[in-house]
């Protein structure tokens, strides 16, 4: 995906920025994701008012208000159903969902499964910092088993699970992983996610400097481009994703399923329905 030179763009990244100051800690990875988002939108030349950003609750879920798009900051874990209803009611909008590993994979796990399966045309961005930032440091489903926290002293002892394989098995049509430190890389993944029909899932490794101070340094050297080109074969993708190291970034699966796009059969006036009741 090549980027259009800035000067030629109908919209500039700044057009997608709101006046609200993020509550995020200085150095939080989410700041960079916000910049990637702005660049991606400008690249796609989407009028800000035609984009809706939906989220749940968490540091990462504060995202919508920092954009100059329409936003919905819902309740914890329920961003995908809100986005799904919105997309069906308003297929003309570009719908982006912003979430975190707690919001998206813990409390929101069921909607994740079913949004993948439903395959509506939308993009799901999960800022994964392997911790609950907003509530001050509890383990998420992607947290390492030995990460010590007050609520799980000595670690949970539970292996993290594989959100990308889950997405694949549930039917997502585009699966990618990015690293917030690579602003243009993430922007490109978002651009392609929006351009690929159906449900697109982008996991972004986005360090929490406050409750995971280890991440900012340790992740950078671990992150690497995926060593194989993207695939459209679900079983190949399943094998690869199941055994990857969690740090290979890029587009990892791009399917061929058309987006689900339910349409009414007719637009008759309600009175038409009365025939059924007449005796």
């Amino acid at each position: 995906m090549n980027m259009i030179p800035l000067a030629d763009q109908a919209f500039k990244p700044a057009d997608y920025k709101s006046e609200v100051k993020p509550v995020w800690c200085p150095g939080c990875g989410d700041h960079a994701v916000l910049v990637s988002f702005q660049r991606a939108m400008a690249q796609l030349a989407l009028p800000p008012e035609k984009v809706a950003v939906v989220s749940g609750i968490g540091c990462s879920s504060r995202f919508p208000a920092y954009t100059n798009c329409y936003g919905f900051h819902g309740v914890h874990g329920r961003s995908l159903p809100i986005a799904s209803g919105l997309k069906v009611a308003r297929p003309d909008l570009t719908v982006i969902v912003a979430s975190g590993d707690g919001d998206g994979f813990s409390i929101g796990g069921n909607h994740f499964l079913h949004a993948c399966r439903r395959n509506l045309d939308m993009t799901y961005i999960v800022m994964d910092n392997r911790i609950y930032g907003m509530t001050k440091g509890q383990p998420s489903p992607t947290t390492e088993p030995d990460w010590d926290t007050a609520i799980a002293p000595g670690g949970t002892g539970l292996s993290p699970f594989h959100p990308l394989v889950i997405a694949l098995a549930s039917g997502a049509n585009y699966i990618a992983r990015g690293y917030s430190g690579d602003v243009n890389g993430v922007a490109s993944l978002i651009v392609q996610a929006v351009q690929t029909p159906g449900f697109s899932f982008v996991q972004i490794l986005s360090p929490c400097v406050t409750f995971r101070p280890d991440q900012q340094k340790s992740w950078k050297p671990l992150v690497h481009e995926a060593s194989v080109p993207e695939t459209d074969d679900p079983s190949v993708a399943a094998r690869r994703l199941m055994s990857d190291d969690g740090f290979n970034v890029g587009v990892l699966y791009r399917g061929k399923r058309p987006a689900h796009d339910p349409k009414p059969l007719a637009d008759l006036p309600p009175s038409h329905l009365e025939a059924e009741f007449a005796v």
Partner: protein, 576 residues
Amino acid sequence: MPSPTSTSISVVLTGSGGAGVMTAGQTFLDAATSCGLYGLMTRSTGPQIRGGEAAAMIRLAPHAVQSLDDRFDVLLALDFDNLQRFAAEIPLDRNSLIIADSGAGEPPAFLTESGAKLLLIPMAKLAKGIPGGRVSMIGLGALARVIGLPEQSIITAVENSIGKKKPEALVASAQAVKLGAESAAEFPQVGKLDLTKKPAGPRWSITGNEAAGYGAIRGGIKFVAGYPITPATEVLEWMATALQQCGGTLFQAEDELASINMIIGASYGGAPSLTATAGPGLSLMIESLGLAVASETPVVVIDVMRSGPSTGIATKSEQSDLNIAVYGLHGDAPHVVVAPLSIDDCLLTAQWSVHLAETMQTPVIMLSDQFLGQARVVLDKPAEVNFDTKRLTVQGVKSGYERYAITPSGISPMALPGVNGGQYTADGLTHNARGTPSSQAKDHIGQLDKRQHKLDAFDYGQHWAEIDGEGEVAIITWGSSCGPIREAIARARAEGVKIKLIAMRLISPARPQQLTEALKGVKRALIFEQSHTGQFWRHLRAHYDLPAEVVPIYRPGPLPIRPGEVYEHILQGVKP
């Protein structure tokens, strides 16, 4: 208004293991309808998913009926298997007639104890004699004959339902019906079915769940997300096809958490949206209903109540979700709760619900119940009502758009996605007028006040309640209790008792001024409902100044409220 009892006939068809009771019941109702009658039909089944015992309860009259009667005139028992289970649901007396198969064996105790007459017909044997003959058709023939319904109407009803594609089946049915009728020919007629009155205009046959679905679509609903649950599923199933025809969409969600959030999302996008559920599903929607309150997103939730708590009895009615509907949200979360007052009123009330939700940008919960939702009624086509429903939106937006502006009405113009300059973020966090999160006291209180005010200041017009009659004693009631209560009141008035009826369609917010007005001159209020803890009564106590004397009358499901039961309470209640 004369007491309807005198002119109606109540019959119940029972049978087990695929005896086809439900189909027969429907055929019977259709037949009666074609003779110009009105009617009501409810169903009751055993615990088995299929093939268990079943009962179809039908009441016919030359005018519309909205309640079961106190007793049945005729029980048509295709067999006696497990019939005992229905004992409490099938009141019979010495004036009743039981039509049963002469080979069915010993009748269950409650039948013999009732003192009812018994007409034994060798139904199974007769059916066997006809190729493709069905026991139920023999039974219907006999039934038609004893109540004076022309046999031909049954045969025509069968024809209309199975169509002309199966000529042999039609012939067999016709033969069976006739045979059944003949075998009851000697029996004196039961009740007086007046077939001379003809309906003045068009009639409808409709269930409350269908009526609710249609009312919602008339109100403007374009998007529905829902998750199946008894007894609300038919609202969703009916709307699925209806919306496809009328430019809308229905989604089966993965659960109720998803359905409520899907409709919030669709409504945020501008589509009037609805879900339908029952108690367990409503419980799961509670958190997000609060989000709809705080983000001021209009949504309609139809709760078709069943016996609770927890899973309770999915197939039986009760009015016990009032508490959760009115008080169930965390924080101070004002919203609207309404309830239909009859089966067909599900139409008006659903339509009104959409109107209230859209106009005030609020969630509206409509409390229907299993009785209202699943009963089928034949009545005059309801009058068309039109609300001037319009969501307050903005078009050209200048900078600094305030989504949650404090306005005199409390209602703030809403920007729909796509409108340039209207961008804002809807939020469940405490926010200021712009929608930006805030933890300042002035914003918190400002928005709490605004949201309460928009509901309190709204003009609900005459729809908040149906009020009739005069007297020093009033019955205050709501929802499906109204049917039997109206009938009991009619009986009491026919005997000279003066009593007023206040049937509340608007359950919350409270309308203290209106009720005080309605209660002028009333010294005693009988408060009537179908719950175990008097939820409605306590709700009234909490919000209204009631007359000095209050008589709360409540009991839970699963048995339906019968007019006679209410009538006794009225006689007690009007004593000085």
